[in-house]
Symmetry: C2
Subunit: 252 residues, 2 copies
């Protein structure tokens, strides 16, 4: 059983137009009337708790999900408990885009901490997008952005070493959190070391050692899930050094 903290807020009814994430989320650059139309199809459920699933691999695809608060991980489960973590999703990020093609979820989505999630029924959304050019364009851009992000991960997994991977992970967290108005240098990781390692293609032990090393080198201060970034420029340099390092290894 997970800790059901007594969070006494009821079903959260923040409309898209009042949502602080509207610049990150679907309604980018839409007129107020169109935002209302979008708002009318979005479902908002009670907050979900650690371990709850938005959907599971194999289920029929019906809706996209947008993280409003909290965090979610997506992963492809394989037989007997093994899994491949595909990503961690922060507020404003959209989940389920990969399921449109097959009309079936190929991955599962599990909530990492108490989170508020918007559900967007895809069929109604698609109809709406057809009549709102800017929404349609937003959707294309979102899908495209996801592809671009995946390409970065391909590079990370294909060419970067362990140190570069963890540095890139920290930089990514920092950037995404700061876009959401949170501190870029002081944050809590809602996922376990194991999940980080799985995501980055590293063993847990390697992740742990790297956190220790980064701390010894004065780059970060780590206390369990609490991370303070002390020297972001150096970490960014470590993360980006891959281009130079790899171009030597894998040059033509």
């Amino acid at each position: 059983m997970t800790q059901r903290k007594v969070i006494s807020f009821e079903t959260i009814r923040v409309a898209c137009k009042n949502c602080t994430l509207s610049q990150l989320c679907l309604p980018m650059g839409m007129s107020p009337e169109d935002v209302d139309r979008l708002d009318s199809i979005v479902k908002r459920s009670r907050p979900l708790h650690r371990g709850d699933h938005l959907f599971r691999s194999g289920e029929r695809f019906r809706s996209l999900y947008v993280v409003k608060t909290g965090s979610v991980k997506t992963y492809t489960p394989s037989e007997e408990g093994g899994e491949q973590v595909l990503g961690f999703h922060l507020p404003g990020e959209i989940i389920g885009l990969d399921a449109i093609d097959q009309d079936t979820h190929a991955c599962s989505a599990k909530v990492l901490e108490t989170s508020a999630i918007c559900e967007v029924p895809f069929q109604r959304f698609e109809e709406l997008a057809a009549s709102i050019p800017s929404l349609q364009h937003s959707m294309y851009r979102l899908l495209s952005k996801e592809i671009g992000h995946d390409a970065e991960m391909l590079l990370l997994l294909g060419k970067k070493n362990a140190e570069e991977r963890l540095a890139a992970f920290l930089v990514s967290m920092s950037q995404r959190l700061s876009k959401r108005g949170l501190s870029p240098t002081d944050f809590y990781l809602s996922m376990s070391r194991h999940e980080i390692g799985n995501y980055l293609g590293l063993a847990v032990e390697t992740v742990s050692r790297l956190f220790t090393r980064f701390q010894d080198e004065g780059l970060v201060k780590v206390d369990r899930k609490h991370v303070e970034i002390l020297d972001l420029p150096t970490i960014e340099h470590l993360a980006g050094a891959a281009q130079a390092a790899t171009s030597r290894k894998h040059s033509n």
Copy 2:
């Protein structure tokens, strides 16, 4: 200079409706009239040759490209000649989807062999898609499929060993070629060992050794770029074994 074989076919004017790839390409499930409308915005240039670029990283995004015949590789160039190969694209596959978001190409696309390419100006395409629901849906599916494919690659690069990667590569080529009506067990690789290695996150030498080993084990017959697959089931098994193998390594 590349070998400009005297291929004496002029500008190829095969309309979408006559194209053998229409089941793989954009016009999936569209009415004949709508296919004509799509056809009217598609540009078809003279065949391109090995080494030609469809676009380069940093250029303004204007069009999507569809491979009609031949093959194309996409890659992110880094300073001084190094590169990360993102993918190899066969007939019916669409290139440039990652550029929609930023409105700028983040990767370059280079033709691997004499190829015919359709160019689809994106702005006009987007307008058209807004008025043809099935085309819009096709586009969502295509973008979504790309995301799903990238997720597979993430798993490959994150969790599979060298043998599993090359096996997966061969299986992928086999499947994609057979969908296009070509032999699933006998084909030519238009890319170099170096490019395969770069794509799979392996050194050239490792790729070479694996080809030799697969041949010694009777799984394939390799002669330079010509590959004959002798034991597809075993190769598929090697490629898929990752789920079982990795779930042990990276289990929760």
